[in-house]
Protein backbone atom coordinates (compact mmCIF):
# COMPACT_ATOMS: atom_id res chain seq x y z
CA UNK A 1 0.00 0.00 0.00
CA UNK A 2 1.66 3.21 -1.18
CA UNK A 3 1.56 6.61 0.42
CA UNK A 4 -1.11 8.67 -1.26
CA UNK A 5 -0.30 11.71 -3.38
CA UNK A 6 -3.89 13.01 -3.26
CA UNK A 7 -4.18 16.34 -1.58
CA UNK A 8 -6.40 14.87 1.12
CA UNK A 9 -4.92 11.40 1.00
CA UNK A 10 -7.29 8.84 2.45
CA UNK A 11 -9.31 11.47 4.28
CA UNK A 12 -12.79 12.26 3.01
CA UNK A 13 -14.10 15.44 4.67
CA UNK A 14 -17.65 14.49 3.61
CA UNK A 15 -17.39 11.24 5.54
CA UNK A 16 -14.64 11.76 8.09
CA UNK A 17 -15.23 8.45 9.80
CA UNK A 18 -15.06 6.35 6.63
CA UNK A 19 -12.11 3.91 6.69
CA UNK A 20 -10.78 5.68 9.70
CA UNK A 21 -8.13 3.93 11.79
CA UNK A 22 -7.65 5.11 15.36
CA UNK A 23 -6.19 3.87 18.63
CA UNK A 24 -3.64 1.54 17.05
CA UNK A 25 -0.78 2.82 19.18
CA UNK A 26 2.86 2.62 18.18
CA UNK A 27 4.43 -0.11 16.07
CA UNK A 28 5.48 -3.11 18.08
CA UNK A 29 9.12 -2.82 19.10
CA UNK A 30 10.15 -6.36 18.15
CA UNK A 31 10.13 -5.71 14.40
CA UNK A 32 12.42 -2.71 14.86
CA UNK A 33 15.23 -4.83 16.32
CA UNK A 34 18.22 -6.07 14.34
CA UNK A 35 18.64 -9.83 14.37
CA UNK A 36 21.38 -9.84 17.01
CA UNK A 37 19.11 -7.93 19.39
CA UNK A 38 16.20 -10.30 18.82
CA UNK A 39 18.45 -13.29 19.32
CA UNK A 40 20.04 -12.05 22.53
CA UNK A 41 17.09 -10.24 24.05
CA UNK A 42 17.42 -10.50 27.83
CA UNK A 43 20.64 -12.50 27.54
CA UNK A 44 23.25 -9.75 27.74
CA UNK A 45 26.07 -10.54 30.18
CA UNK A 46 28.24 -7.42 30.29
CA UNK A 47 29.42 -4.46 28.26
CA UNK A 48 32.57 -2.47 27.76
CA UNK A 49 33.28 0.95 26.33
CA UNK A 50 36.07 0.28 23.85
CA UNK A 51 36.76 3.93 23.13
CA UNK A 52 34.69 7.11 23.38
CA UNK A 53 31.38 6.48 21.63
CA UNK A 54 32.00 2.80 20.92
CA UNK A 55 30.49 0.08 23.10
CA UNK A 56 30.52 -3.66 22.92
CA UNK A 57 27.80 -5.73 24.57
CA UNK A 58 28.54 -9.40 25.10
CA UNK A 59 25.78 -11.96 25.41
CA UNK A 60 25.63 -15.15 27.40
CA UNK A 61 25.36 -16.85 23.99
CA UNK A 62 28.78 -15.45 23.10
CA UNK A 63 27.31 -13.05 20.56
CA UNK A 64 28.62 -9.51 20.52
CA UNK A 65 27.11 -6.30 19.32
CA UNK A 66 29.13 -3.15 18.75
CA UNK A 67 27.39 0.18 19.12
CA UNK A 68 28.67 3.43 17.70
CA UNK A 69 27.06 6.42 19.36
CA UNK A 70 26.96 9.75 17.51
CA UNK A 71 25.95 13.16 18.70
CA UNK A 72 22.67 13.99 17.02
CA UNK A 73 20.61 17.11 16.71
CA UNK A 74 17.14 16.88 18.12
CA UNK A 75 16.01 19.32 15.41
CA UNK A 76 16.73 17.92 11.97
CA UNK A 77 15.49 17.68 8.40
CA UNK A 78 14.20 14.63 6.58
CA UNK A 79 17.28 14.95 4.36
CA UNK A 80 19.52 14.21 7.34
CA UNK A 81 17.16 11.44 8.43
CA UNK A 82 17.53 9.91 4.96
CA UNK A 83 21.30 10.05 5.33
CA UNK A 84 21.02 8.28 8.70
CA UNK A 85 18.97 5.62 6.93
CA UNK A 86 21.54 5.35 4.14
CA UNK A 87 24.25 4.68 6.75
CA UNK A 88 22.03 2.17 8.52
CA UNK A 89 21.28 0.42 5.22
CA UNK A 90 24.95 0.35 4.25
CA UNK A 91 26.41 -0.88 7.54
CA UNK A 92 23.65 -2.04 9.88
CA UNK A 93 21.13 -4.11 7.88
CA UNK A 94 18.68 -1.23 7.91
CA UNK A 95 18.33 -0.64 11.64
CA UNK A 96 19.14 2.37 13.77
CA UNK A 97 18.36 3.56 17.26
CA UNK A 98 18.02 6.92 19.01
CA UNK A 99 18.79 7.50 22.68
CA UNK A 100 16.75 9.55 25.12
CA UNK A 101 19.46 12.22 24.85
CA UNK A 102 19.06 12.63 21.07
CA UNK A 103 22.12 10.58 20.19
CA UNK A 104 22.07 8.24 17.21
CA UNK A 105 23.24 4.64 17.64
CA UNK A 106 24.43 2.38 14.84
CA UNK A 107 24.83 -1.31 15.69
CA UNK A 108 27.07 -3.84 13.95
CA UNK A 109 28.11 -7.38 14.85
CA UNK A 110 31.36 -7.64 12.97
CA UNK A 111 34.55 -5.87 14.23
CA UNK A 112 35.64 -5.32 10.63
CA UNK A 113 32.39 -3.57 9.83
CA UNK A 114 32.95 -1.45 12.91
CA UNK A 115 36.06 0.17 11.48
CA UNK A 116 34.36 0.98 8.19
CA UNK A 117 31.33 2.39 10.00
CA UNK A 118 33.44 4.66 12.20
CA UNK A 119 35.43 5.91 9.25
CA UNK A 120 32.28 6.57 7.28
CA UNK A 121 30.68 8.50 10.16
CA UNK A 122 33.70 10.73 10.80
CA UNK A 123 34.02 11.47 7.07
CA UNK A 124 30.57 13.01 6.78
CA UNK A 125 30.51 16.76 7.18
CA UNK A 126 28.18 19.58 6.34
CA UNK A 127 29.48 21.89 3.61
CA UNK A 128 30.26 24.47 6.29
CA UNK A 129 32.64 22.00 7.96
CA UNK A 130 30.83 20.76 11.07
CA UNK A 131 30.57 17.03 11.62
CA UNK A 132 27.29 15.34 10.84
CA UNK A 133 27.88 12.35 13.09
CA UNK A 134 30.60 12.95 15.71
CA UNK A 135 31.32 9.81 17.71
CA UNK A 136 31.34 10.04 21.50
CA UNK A 137 28.98 10.72 24.37
CA UNK A 138 29.83 7.68 26.50
CA UNK A 139 31.24 7.21 29.99
CA UNK A 140 32.86 9.92 32.08
CA UNK A 141 32.39 12.76 29.63
CA UNK A 142 29.81 15.22 28.46
CA UNK A 143 27.08 13.62 26.42
CA UNK A 144 24.53 15.34 24.22
CA UNK A 145 22.44 18.13 25.71
CA UNK A 146 18.73 17.42 25.89
CA UNK A 147 16.75 20.53 25.14
CA UNK A 148 13.44 22.11 24.23
CA UNK A 149 12.17 23.93 21.11
CA UNK A 150 13.10 27.57 21.76
CA UNK A 151 12.54 30.09 18.96
CA UNK A 152 12.24 27.24 16.46
CA UNK A 153 8.76 26.33 17.56
CA UNK A 154 7.67 27.60 20.99
CA UNK A 155 5.46 30.51 21.98
CA UNK A 156 6.78 31.08 25.54
CA UNK A 157 10.58 30.67 25.39
CA UNK A 158 12.79 33.11 27.26
CA UNK A 159 15.77 32.09 25.17
CA UNK A 160 16.61 29.90 22.20
CA UNK A 161 17.57 26.25 22.55
CA UNK A 162 19.16 24.89 19.37
CA UNK A 163 21.59 27.80 19.07
CA UNK A 164 22.67 27.64 22.73
CA UNK A 165 23.15 23.89 22.55
CA UNK A 166 25.21 24.22 19.37
CA UNK A 167 27.40 26.91 20.99
CA UNK A 168 27.98 24.89 24.15
CA UNK A 169 28.66 21.61 22.38
CA UNK A 170 31.15 23.33 20.06
CA UNK A 171 32.94 24.47 23.23
CA UNK A 172 32.67 21.12 25.04
CA UNK A 173 33.35 19.02 21.95
CA UNK A 174 36.58 17.68 23.48
CA UNK A 175 34.67 16.32 26.47
CA UNK A 176 32.11 14.69 24.15
CA UNK A 177 34.77 12.82 22.22
CA UNK A 178 36.77 11.79 25.29
CA UNK A 179 36.13 10.36 28.76
CA UNK A 180 38.41 12.49 30.88
CA UNK A 181 36.03 13.72 33.60
CA UNK A 182 35.52 12.26 37.11
CA UNK A 183 32.03 11.01 36.12
CA UNK A 184 29.43 11.69 33.48
CA UNK A 185 28.17 15.25 33.17
CA UNK A 186 24.59 15.58 32.02
CA UNK A 187 23.79 19.02 30.65
CA UNK A 188 20.15 19.88 29.98
CA UNK A 189 18.47 22.95 28.59
CA UNK A 190 14.91 24.27 28.86
CA UNK A 191 13.69 27.55 27.38
CA UNK A 192 11.33 28.60 30.15
CA UNK A 193 10.33 27.52 33.60
CA UNK A 194 7.52 25.31 32.32
CA UNK A 195 10.46 23.01 31.55
CA UNK A 196 9.21 20.78 28.78
CA UNK A 197 12.73 19.52 29.17
CA UNK A 198 12.36 18.90 32.94
CA UNK A 199 15.97 19.83 33.53
CA UNK A 200 15.67 19.96 37.31
CA UNK A 201 17.86 16.92 38.05
CA UNK A 202 20.83 17.61 35.75
CA UNK A 203 24.52 18.07 36.54
CA UNK A 204 24.25 21.39 34.73
CA UNK A 205 20.88 22.83 33.79
CA UNK A 206 20.37 25.89 31.62
CA UNK A 207 17.00 27.51 31.96
CA UNK A 208 15.53 30.40 29.99
CA UNK A 209 13.83 32.87 32.29
CA UNK A 210 11.51 35.82 31.77
CA UNK A 211 11.81 38.66 34.24
CA UNK A 212 8.96 40.90 33.18
CA UNK A 213 5.23 40.26 33.65
CA UNK A 214 3.00 40.24 30.55
CA UNK A 215 2.20 43.53 28.92
CA UNK A 216 -1.53 43.90 28.31
CA UNK A 217 -2.84 44.77 24.85
CA UNK A 218 -5.96 46.46 26.22
CA UNK A 219 -7.32 47.47 22.83
CA UNK A 220 -7.82 43.97 21.50
CA UNK A 221 -7.74 41.66 24.48
CA UNK A 222 -11.53 41.57 24.82
CA UNK A 223 -11.88 40.55 21.17
CA UNK A 224 -9.08 38.06 20.61
CA UNK A 225 -9.20 36.28 23.97
CA UNK A 226 -11.70 34.61 26.18
CA UNK A 227 -10.91 36.50 29.35
CA UNK A 228 -12.12 33.88 31.85
CA UNK A 229 -9.71 31.42 30.28
CA UNK A 230 -6.79 33.80 30.49
CA UNK A 231 -7.65 34.55 34.11
CA UNK A 232 -7.99 30.87 34.99
CA UNK A 233 -4.69 30.08 33.28
CA UNK A 234 -2.64 31.93 35.89
CA UNK A 235 -1.18 29.52 38.43
CA UNK A 236 -0.80 32.23 41.08
CA UNK A 237 -4.19 33.91 40.46
CA UNK A 238 -2.43 37.18 39.63
CA UNK A 239 -4.85 38.07 36.81
CA UNK A 240 -8.29 39.54 37.43
CA UNK A 241 -11.00 41.17 35.29
CA UNK A 242 -10.87 44.92 34.73
CA UNK A 243 -12.22 47.67 32.46
CA UNK A 244 -10.27 50.25 30.49
CA UNK A 245 -11.05 53.97 30.80
CA UNK A 246 -13.13 53.61 27.64
CA UNK A 247 -15.11 50.84 29.23
CA UNK A 248 -13.54 47.99 27.27
CA UNK A 249 -13.27 44.62 28.98
CA UNK A 250 -9.69 43.78 29.91
CA UNK A 251 -7.63 42.31 32.75
CA UNK A 252 -5.26 43.62 35.39
CA UNK A 253 -2.18 41.84 36.71
CA UNK A 254 -0.76 41.84 40.23
CA UNK A 255 2.82 42.12 39.06
CA UNK A 256 4.40 41.02 42.33
CA UNK A 257 2.61 37.69 42.01
CA UNK A 258 3.74 36.92 38.46
CA UNK A 259 6.13 33.98 38.20
CA UNK A 260 6.72 34.56 34.47
CA UNK A 261 5.42 31.18 33.26
CA UNK A 262 3.58 32.42 30.18
CA UNK A 263 0.52 30.27 30.76
CA UNK A 264 -1.69 33.34 30.24
CA UNK A 265 -0.02 34.06 26.92
CA UNK A 266 -0.77 30.49 25.88
CA UNK A 267 -4.46 31.24 26.30
CA UNK A 268 -4.33 34.81 25.13
CA UNK A 269 -1.95 36.31 22.56
CA UNK A 270 -2.81 39.78 23.92
CA UNK A 271 -0.65 39.10 27.00
CA UNK A 272 2.91 38.77 25.64
CA UNK A 273 5.72 38.58 28.16
CA UNK A 274 8.82 38.08 26.01
CA UNK A 275 11.23 40.98 26.33
CA UNK A 276 14.74 41.39 25.00
CA UNK A 277 16.15 42.95 28.16
CA UNK A 278 14.05 41.02 30.59
CA UNK A 279 14.78 37.57 29.26
CA UNK A 280 17.90 35.52 29.89
CA UNK A 281 19.38 32.36 31.28
CA UNK A 282 19.56 30.82 34.77
CA UNK A 283 22.31 28.27 35.43
CA UNK A 284 21.68 25.39 37.84
CA UNK A 285 24.14 22.71 38.89
CA UNK A 286 24.55 19.58 40.95
CA UNK A 287 21.44 17.57 40.13
CA UNK A 288 21.31 13.93 39.15
CA UNK A 289 18.70 11.25 38.74
CA UNK A 290 20.67 8.05 39.01
CA UNK A 291 20.51 6.29 42.39
CA UNK A 292 24.21 5.45 42.17
CA UNK A 293 26.07 6.04 45.46
CA UNK A 294 23.91 9.00 46.54
CA UNK A 295 20.19 9.52 46.13
CA UNK A 296 18.87 11.57 43.18
CA UNK A 297 19.22 15.31 43.68
CA UNK A 298 17.70 18.51 42.38
CA UNK A 299 19.92 20.97 40.56
CA UNK A 300 20.61 24.18 42.48
CA UNK A 301 20.60 27.71 41.10
CA UNK A 302 24.22 28.88 40.92
CA UNK A 303 23.90 31.82 38.53
CA UNK A 304 20.63 33.77 38.78
CA UNK A 305 20.81 35.47 35.40
CA UNK A 306 22.95 35.70 32.29
CA UNK A 307 22.04 37.73 29.22
CA UNK A 308 20.72 36.25 25.99
CA UNK A 309 23.64 37.05 23.76
CA UNK A 310 22.55 35.48 20.48
CA UNK A 311 23.57 33.42 18.68
CA UNK A 312 26.50 32.02 20.70
CA UNK A 313 25.79 32.99 24.31
CA UNK A 314 29.44 33.63 25.34
CA UNK A 315 28.48 34.28 29.00
CA UNK A 316 26.54 31.01 29.28
CA UNK A 317 29.19 29.00 27.45
CA UNK A 318 31.92 30.52 29.64
CA UNK A 319 30.06 29.70 32.85
CA UNK A 320 29.47 26.08 31.82
CA UNK A 321 33.14 25.78 30.90
CA UNK A 322 34.18 27.27 34.27
CA UNK A 323 32.06 24.82 36.26
CA UNK A 324 33.19 21.78 34.28
CA UNK A 325 36.88 22.65 34.42
CA UNK A 326 36.77 23.35 38.19
CA UNK A 327 34.96 20.04 38.67
CA UNK A 328 37.38 18.16 36.43
CA UNK A 329 40.34 19.49 38.38
CA UNK A 330 39.01 18.84 41.86
CA UNK A 331 36.45 16.03 42.03
CA UNK A 332 37.18 12.42 42.89
CA UNK A 333 36.73 9.56 40.48
CA UNK A 334 33.01 8.56 40.27
CA UNK A 335 31.90 11.81 41.91
CA UNK A 336 29.12 13.70 40.12
CA UNK A 337 29.08 17.51 40.25
CA UNK A 338 26.42 17.53 42.99
CA UNK A 339 28.30 14.98 45.11
CA UNK A 340 31.48 16.97 44.67
CA UNK A 341 29.76 20.21 45.74
CA UNK A 342 28.20 18.47 48.74
CA UNK A 343 31.58 17.09 49.82
CA UNK A 344 33.58 20.29 49.50
CA UNK A 345 30.66 22.49 50.61
CA UNK A 346 28.75 24.86 48.37
CA UNK A 347 30.85 27.80 49.61
CA UNK A 348 33.89 26.05 48.14
CA UNK A 349 31.96 25.32 44.96
CA UNK A 350 31.47 29.04 44.40
CA UNK A 351 35.10 29.73 45.21
CA UNK A 352 36.52 27.02 42.96
CA UNK A 353 34.18 27.82 40.08
CA UNK A 354 34.89 31.51 40.59
CA UNK A 355 31.19 32.35 40.61
CA UNK A 356 29.73 35.32 42.46
CA UNK A 357 27.06 34.80 45.11
CA UNK A 358 24.03 37.01 45.61
CA UNK A 359 20.82 37.12 47.59
CA UNK A 360 19.00 35.79 44.51
CA UNK A 361 20.61 32.43 45.24
CA UNK A 362 19.04 32.14 48.70
CA UNK A 363 15.63 30.52 48.48
CA UNK A 364 12.65 32.66 49.45
CA UNK A 365 9.89 30.60 47.83
CA UNK A 366 7.94 27.85 49.60
CA UNK A 367 9.88 25.54 51.96
CA UNK A 368 12.86 27.89 51.63
CA UNK A 369 13.96 27.31 55.21
CA UNK A 370 14.98 23.75 54.34
CA UNK A 371 17.97 25.13 52.48
CA UNK A 372 19.21 27.57 55.12
CA UNK A 373 22.27 26.50 57.11
CA UNK A 374 21.47 25.80 60.73
CA UNK A 375 24.94 24.84 61.86
CA UNK A 376 28.28 26.33 62.81
CA UNK A 377 29.94 24.07 60.29
CA UNK A 378 31.18 26.10 57.34
CA UNK A 379 34.41 26.78 55.49
CA UNK A 380 36.05 30.18 55.26
CA UNK A 381 36.14 31.73 51.82
CA UNK A 382 36.43 35.36 50.69
CA UNK A 383 32.65 35.59 50.65
CA UNK A 384 32.51 34.72 54.36
CA UNK A 385 35.07 37.43 55.16
CA UNK A 386 33.03 39.93 53.19
CA UNK A 387 30.09 39.23 55.51
CA UNK A 388 32.20 39.47 58.65
CA UNK A 389 33.74 42.73 57.56
CA UNK A 390 30.34 44.16 56.75
CA UNK A 391 29.11 43.18 60.20
CA UNK A 392 32.20 44.58 61.88
CA UNK A 393 34.10 47.09 59.77
CA UNK A 394 36.83 47.09 62.40
CA UNK A 395 37.67 43.41 61.92
CA UNK A 396 41.42 42.82 61.45
CA UNK A 397 42.26 46.54 61.78
Amino acid sequence: MALSTDKLGRFNPEKPLENRITDIGPRHFWQTFPEVIQKNYGKWAYHDILEPGVLVHVSETGDKVFTVRCGGMRFMTVQLLREICEIADKHCDGFVRFTTRNNIEFLVTNPEKLGALKQDLWSRKFVSGSYKFPIGGTGAGVTNIVHTQGFIHCHTPATDASSMVKAIMDELFGHFTSMDLPAQVRVSMACCLNMCGAVHCSDIALLGYHRKPPVIDHEVIGKVCELPMAIAACPTAAISPAKTEDGLKTVKIKEERCMFCGNCYTMCPALPLADKEGDGVVVLAGGKLSNRISMPKFSKVVVPFLPNNFPRFPEVVGTVRQIIEAYAADANKYERIGDWAARIGWEKFFEKCNLPFSDHLIDDYRLAYDTWRTSTQFKYTDLAWAVSRAADPGLDD
Partner: protein, 77 residues
Protein backbone atom coordinates in the same frame (compact mmCIF):
# COMPACT_ATOMS: atom_id res chain seq x y z
CA UNK B 1 -26.18 7.96 28.02
CA UNK B 2 -28.71 10.34 26.43
CA UNK B 3 -29.49 11.78 29.84
CA UNK B 4 -25.81 12.38 30.48
CA UNK B 5 -25.36 13.96 27.07
CA UNK B 6 -28.17 16.42 27.60
CA UNK B 7 -26.88 17.27 31.07
CA UNK B 8 -23.47 18.05 29.56
CA UNK B 9 -24.95 20.21 26.82
CA UNK B 10 -27.19 22.00 29.27
CA UNK B 11 -24.20 22.85 31.42
CA UNK B 12 -22.09 24.05 28.50
CA UNK B 13 -24.90 26.18 27.15
CA UNK B 14 -25.29 27.81 30.55
CA UNK B 15 -21.86 29.48 30.40
CA UNK B 16 -22.24 33.24 29.99
CA UNK B 17 -18.82 34.49 28.95
CA UNK B 18 -17.03 31.19 29.35
CA UNK B 19 -17.19 28.82 26.42
CA UNK B 20 -14.47 26.29 27.33
CA UNK B 21 -14.61 24.03 30.35
CA UNK B 22 -12.36 21.56 32.07
CA UNK B 23 -13.62 18.01 32.26
CA UNK B 24 -13.76 18.34 36.04
CA UNK B 25 -16.18 21.24 35.79
CA UNK B 26 -18.43 19.24 33.49
CA UNK B 27 -18.18 16.22 35.75
CA UNK B 28 -19.13 18.24 38.80
CA UNK B 29 -22.12 19.84 37.11
CA UNK B 30 -23.39 16.54 35.73
CA UNK B 31 -23.03 14.81 39.07
CA UNK B 32 -24.98 17.58 40.71
CA UNK B 33 -27.83 16.94 38.33
CA UNK B 34 -27.49 13.17 38.14
CA UNK B 35 -25.92 12.08 41.44
CA UNK B 36 -25.52 8.43 40.40
CA UNK B 37 -23.47 9.32 37.29
CA UNK B 38 -20.01 7.79 37.19
CA UNK B 39 -16.92 9.67 36.05
CA UNK B 40 -16.11 7.14 33.37
CA UNK B 41 -19.65 7.32 31.95
CA UNK B 42 -19.42 11.09 31.79
CA UNK B 43 -16.16 10.80 29.91
CA UNK B 44 -17.77 8.36 27.47
CA UNK B 45 -20.68 10.74 26.96
CA UNK B 46 -18.25 13.59 26.27
CA UNK B 47 -16.37 11.43 23.77
CA UNK B 48 -19.65 10.54 22.06
CA UNK B 49 -20.55 14.23 21.81
CA UNK B 50 -17.12 14.91 20.32
CA UNK B 51 -17.67 12.15 17.79
CA UNK B 52 -21.06 13.42 16.70
CA UNK B 53 -19.64 16.93 16.30
CA UNK B 54 -21.56 18.62 19.11
CA UNK B 55 -18.48 19.27 21.21
CA UNK B 56 -14.91 20.18 20.37
CA UNK B 57 -11.69 19.86 22.32
CA UNK B 58 -9.63 22.95 22.99
CA UNK B 59 -6.04 22.55 24.14
CA UNK B 60 -3.35 24.77 25.58
CA UNK B 61 -0.86 22.05 24.78
CA UNK B 62 -0.59 21.17 28.44
CA UNK B 63 -4.25 21.08 29.41
CA UNK B 64 -7.41 20.30 27.50
CA UNK B 65 -10.90 21.73 27.66
CA UNK B 66 -14.26 21.00 26.10
CA UNK B 67 -16.58 23.47 24.39
CA UNK B 68 -19.65 23.55 22.19
CA UNK B 69 -18.72 23.65 18.54
CA UNK B 70 -19.07 27.10 17.05
CA UNK B 71 -19.11 28.98 20.32
CA UNK B 72 -16.39 31.31 21.48
CA UNK B 73 -12.96 31.68 19.99
CA UNK B 74 -11.80 28.45 18.41
CA UNK B 75 -9.28 27.13 16.01
CA UNK B 76 -7.48 29.23 13.43
CA UNK B 77 -8.66 32.49 14.93
Amino acid sequence: MEELKSAIIEFLEGGKTKTKFYFKDIEKAVKQKIPEAKTLQIKKACSALINDGTLIYFSTGSTTMYGLKGRGITEDH
